[in-house]
Amino acid sequence: MLEIKNLHASVDGKEILRGINLTVNAGEVHAIMGPNGAGKSTLSNVLAGRDGYEITQGEVIYKDENLLDLEAEERAQRGVFLAFQYPVEIPGVSNIYLLKAALNAVRKHQGLDELDAIDFLTLVRSKLELVKMDEEFLHRGVNEGFSGGEKKRNEILQMALLEPSLAILDETDSGLDIDALRTVSEGVNALRSDDRSIVMITHYQRLLDYIVPDFVHVLSDGQIVKSGDKELAKELEKTGYSWVNEDA
């Protein structure tokens, strides 16, 4: 599904990713942990195609294509989805409008017709249920005035609707209360499948109790310094990251 080879990326001449290697196969769930400022969000942004990063070395293969050659919207249309750490507000644009535009963009790429209004609404309603969101949210401005937790839930709603092949969740658990964490996790688990890969960035072992990962990686100072299974996360919970830096 995804193969990252020796990826180096800098912003304004400052190198932030310093040789990332990571392979994610279809159906796998990978957790990426690591201290603040390590480069986790940078990695997600680079994978999603945000402007402003200079790729100085390395390559990323996604479904046999060179991912870095594609525009952000082309990546999205091919099934790359990023749940943002800080979802942005778009005043005046209703949530349902964005959802529809997004779904149609993906469908168009797949050579499918646009869904008619009724089918679309039926589909959205089923996804709302999955993340236990009220229909009222469809008609509010995108993330406008949403609480932190509501914004994160809204990201998962979009993911559920778009059914991506590769979902990158950047700290989707931060800011969620205990019930919301459970709901969102159930939502994500429901989306686990053999043909979908999930990369979760998180600071907390707690999330991994709900969404059990196949692999856990530690990203520190722009490199993956340690990889393991879910036990690694438990170890980190006890010991923190200081040893990681010492080792490296």
Binding site: E73, V93, A101
Partner: protein, 482 residues
């Protein structure tokens, strides 16, 4: 970020969705303006004496005036002796014979705007007999209006058929003394629309519907007069989303609205005149005087405008709130790109008691354009409990454009409540990336964000135009983000 800025510049640089130029029948007056010209126009149109007199007074007054210079716009001096003040209406038969002969680029624009298929031929100026269906539909509309006693006709026809109404109302809201362009228009206006809604009548359809069927012949000096008698209601739409070219560079229209007791007039405009090329060469100068009188108690006038075209736009649709409890509203979206200049806003003049007004202005500037809001809220000494709410928001795309706000407030009654809010923002890179990450291309993303910004105004438009107008905003900014 620099790249994002480059993208913004790229979208801005894409060409204007080319309009079309229809050959104008050669029958026209030679350039030049004198009393003789005014008499000649009136003679050709076979006007009654009172109207000729009025035109002449306007002309004599115009001679005493100087071009106004206070607006935030720059343009070369206009030589008024170099303009032809009359040309015969276009002959429809000169147009293309079928859609196959129409510029494919233009057809593509209609498609992008979402103009319904059966209307494209008419908009493109295809000869009348080729659009036979539309004509019969137009006749059905006319019959329906006549049944209700509604008068809706070209101004020049109203002059002949209802001279008493024209005499009573013409110039009663916008005096020929009002300003330079109003005086000029009064002296030489060619034609326009006349609407009278009788007492207690609710116009059964959006008058816009009619326009879609029967092309409005927007002239250089257009004159529109709409009267809603007691308890009447009408919604009127001027212009259309389709791009319009005109060989006349100067446009100076006058629109007068009169609302009697408990009457309501909704006047919507979509203006998409040719804005000129990216260096500002060749666009239309649009200097318009629009004013409404809420003459009766509890009357209401609502102006909604979406201004995307013209090289220079200079217009301030205003409401004189004379009747007690009367209501004035102004909803405006003004988009400027490349070298366009817009100086637009409104005047709300509160004279009656308990009068209220709302002003919502959304300015979007891109390229090297200049976009100014200019508004006056005046509360007279007798306007007890007058209220105004003004919100003026500017959205900047790129860093070479300008947004300016000039709010003037004059309050002569201590019970008045006047509120003003203003904001300036930029389309953020975060918003764009968010939309792109959801699969939208940049143009759709910009269009969506801009439409969100303008939502309060867009939802005032007649339903049937809302989608086209939304697409128009996107098209006007095409090229402003890569």
């Amino acid at each position: 970020m620099a790249e994002e800025q480059q993208q913004i510049d790229d979208v801005l640089e894409s060409d204007y969705q080319a309009g079309f130029v229809t050959d104008i029948e050669a029958e026209s007056l030679p350039p030049g303006l004198s009393e003789e010209t005014v008499r000649e126009i009136s003679r050709i149109k076979g006007e009654p004496e009172f109207l000729l007199e009025w035109r002449l007074q306007a002309f004599r007054h115009w001679l005493t005036l100087e071009t106004p210079e206070w607006a935030h716009v720059n343009y070369p001096e206009i030589d008024y002796q170099d303009i032809s003040y009359y040309s015969a209406p276009k002959k429809k038969t000169d147009g293309p014979k079928s859609l196959d002969e129409v510029d494919p680029e233009l057809l593509r624009t209609y498609e992008k705007l979402g103009v319904p298929l059966d209307e494209r031929a008419r908009l493109a100026g295809v000869a009348v007999d080729a659009v036979f269906d539309s004509v019969s539909v137009a006749n059905t509309f006319q019959d329906k209006l006549a049944e209700e006693g509604i008068l809706f006709m070209p101004f020049s026809k109203a002059v002949h058929e209802h001279p008493e109404l024209v005499k009573k109302y013409l110039g009663s809201v916008v005096s020929y003394k009002d300003n330079f362009y109003a005086a000029l228009n009064s002296a030489v206006f060619s034609d326009g629309s006349f609407v009278y809604i009788p007492k207690g009548t609710r116009c059964p359809m959006e008058l816009s519907t009619y326009f879609r069927i029967n092309a409005a012949n927007t002239g250089q000096f257009e004159r529109t007069l709409i009267i809603a008698d007691d308890d009447a209601y009408v919604s009127y739409l001027e212009g259309c989303t389709a791009p319009m070219r005109d060989e006349n560079q100067l446009h100076a229209a006058v629109v007068e609205l009169v609302a009697h007791d408990r009457a309501e007039i909704k006047y919507s405009t979509v203006q998409n005149w040719y804005p000129g090329d990216e260096n500002g060469v060749g666009g239309i100068f649009n200097f318009v005087t629009k004013r409404a009188a809420c003459r009766g108690e509890s009357s209401k006038v609502s102006w909604t405008q979406v201004e995307t075209g013209s090289a220079i736009t200079w217009k301030y649709p205003s409401v004189i709130l004379q009747g007690d409890n009367s209501v004035g509203e102004f909803y405006s979206v003004a988009v400027t790109n490349n070298m366009q200049q817009a100086d637009t806003g409104t005047k709300m003049v509160h004279l009656g008691k308990n009068t209220s007004s709302t002003i919502i202005s959304k300015g979007i500037s891109a390229g090297r354009s200049q976009n100014a809001y200019r508004g006056l809220v005046r509360v007279g000494p007798n306007a007890e409990n007058a209220r105004n709410y003004t919100e003026c928001d500017s959205l900047l795309m790129g860093d070479q454009c300008g947004a300016h706000t000039f709010p003037y407030i004059e309050v002569k009654n201590p019970t008045a409540q006047v509120e003003h809010e203003a904001s300036t923002s930029k389309i953020s890179e975060d918003q764009l990336f968010y939309c792109k990450q959801r699969g939208l291309d940049v143009e759709d993303a910009v269009s969506m964000i801009v439409n969100g910004f303008c939502k309060q105004v867009m939802r005032q438009l007649p339903m049937e135009f809302a989608v086209e107008a939304q697409n128009l905003l996107g098209l006007s900014l095409e090229g402003s983000v890569g």
